[in-house]
Symmetry: C2
Subunit: 327 residues, 2 copies
């Protein structure tokens, strides 16, 4: 599993960070999945390996502009590129209103069907052959969700001793069982794949959270998850000065939660534009890392635009653009 | 007068060209004016000297997404930056519907008033202390306009001989007359500024055209204009192959018109993404220049993102990022 940050800035873009967008794929970029779509997401994609022709579904955490204003341009560009395959958009209902209003008022049309799925529908689950996707309600100024991606259809290993004990010799039926298919033998027996195979590793699970001032809401979902991508808009001092209104998290708050939840990997993103990477008078982005690290002993990353991460089958996470921890 | 291209690609952005946007100013970037606002215009501005705090008015040529989808993000970012001054948006009425729908469906609000002015209102004129702005109806798939910027309040020179002949000696009244103000003398005489001053040069005039398949519509406006910025989406062979439906101009068509109209300066923009600047199999952008130059003997430029041009008081136009003609 890999994911690439297309934007890591909160509210407004900066010269080095776009507003929110995250591309995710299971095994290569065909298909891929997009979480949030701030303005300029289609521009960022031009500098990535992801194509609008291969996009399977878009998941929107909430309706704020820095997470949604890139949708009209991305959707119409996909059409101009010749896309004909339908596209799922799992989002609050207002996103459908926004997209439809923009299309109507710009003489636009799409050469492929959009399939809007209301993210607030009770018990909503989405799945394809690679992922099952569920959500967790968060706490923000508007309805907001974390998207939980769990891989599906893991490789099975045959229980060869058991097969032989039961008199089932190597042959095509072994292959079908390994693929997860049940097999009817000529002698009338029905062999269930799950009785003759096992899955030798846990399914990888990744949480991509939207804006949220209460990380504890993710406690249950974090149990069995291997990566949490969460906003850390401010350091605690700035959060205290601004007050609770924006309903964002501080780096300290998220770090403390991740430590309590025993999360192995935490990736922070959605940084206020006041934090800069270069020299100068602005607060340095490393303050966010330092604050989180005081709380959290797992593997911590601060996301940067175009950073690509890989979550291996052995559950180790690495940033493919190697750099020092927290930088 | 200076103008900077924020986007020069038609329909979709490319890795080196954004969709349409042009920043224009009279004498320094405070205030400045924006013509069209494709997605990512606010991002481009981050790499320019123009600030959203100093933007005076936005002029939209037509409602297509590559000219409008950047509006919601630009407007909300201006608000987040603390803008309180009102902003004029001169545009087709549907742009107001688009902006309002997006704001309503994204929990956005603006901390300053938007003043929408219907660009299709008969006889519409807009002006401030620097520019008078009128428009010309063009021919495209939707209602589309060219915006004509004419500078106002040119420096006046005193007719000193005439002043002395009429017994008006140097003093504060000379300064007021030079500023264009009429003066009441103590002896009861009323001196009109226009009787005692003259303007020693023509007003600079610039046309920023939207999408258009009939440059002849600009004939009258080009009379007395010093620069025409016009789309040249295709070379003629590509335009012929595609057929008339998109209602764009070829480089040949625009070059021929500019020659007939005896325009001193022509800047082409809004290039189909099929034309590329680098080596490789794609048609080269220079084909557009070559085709236009076959028709046109004036000064020709092909716009690139972030190119800044200056139209001097002597009516000469130069690209401040010096480069060979047509490249």
């Amino acid at each position: 599993m890999e994911f690439t940050f297309l934007g890591t800035s909160a509210g407004t873009p900066t010269r080095s960070r776009n507003v929110s967008g995250l591309a995710l794929c299971h095994s290569g970029p065909r298909p891929w999945y997009l979480v949030d779509c701030g303005e300029g997401t289609q521009h960022q994609l031009l500098h990535s390996r992801y194509s609008l022709m291969q996009l399977r579904a878009i998941f929107i955490t909430h309706i704020h502009g820095d997470h949604t204003f890139g949708l009209p341009g991305l959707l119409t560009s996909a059409s101009m590129l010749g896309r004909t395959e339908g596209l799922d958009i799992v989002a609050p209902a207002q996103v459908q209103s926004l997209v439809n209003a923009v299309i109507e008022n710009s003489d636009s049309s799409l050469g492929y069907p959009l399939n809007f799925i209301d993210s607030e529908a009770p018990g909503l689950q989405w799945q394809d052959e690679h992922f099952g996707v569920t959500s967790v309600a968060l706490s923000h100024r508007v309805t907001c969700r974390a998207w939980v991606f769990t891989e599906r259809n893991l490789e099975r290993q045959l229980l060869q001793d058991k097969l032989r004990e039961d008199g089932i010799e190597p042959g095509p039926s072994w292959g079908e069982l390994q693929k997860g298919q049940d097999v009817a033998l000529e002698d009338g027996r029905l062999l269930r794949s799950e009785d003759y195979t096992h899955i030798p590793r846990p399914a990888r699970r990744l949480i991509v959270a939207g804006d949220n001032d209460d990380p504890q809401l993710l406690s249950d979902a974090c149990n069995g998850s291997h990566v949490l991508i969460h906003e850390a808009t401010y350091t605690q001092d700035v959060a205290d000065r601004i007050g609770p209104w924006p309903q964002h998290s501080s780096a300290r708050q998220v770090g403390r939660f991740a430590q309590q939840a025993r999360l192995p990997n935490l990736v922070l993103t959605h940084f206020s534009s006041r934090y800069q990477s270069g020299p100068g008078g602005a607060p340095h982005i490393n303050q966010l890392a330092a604050e989180a690290m005081q709380q959290y002993r797992g593997q911590l990353f601060l996301a940067r635009d175009f950073d690509t991460y890989r979550l291996e089958k052995d559950l180790s996470l690495s940033c493919l653009t190697a750099r020092p921890k927290g930088s």
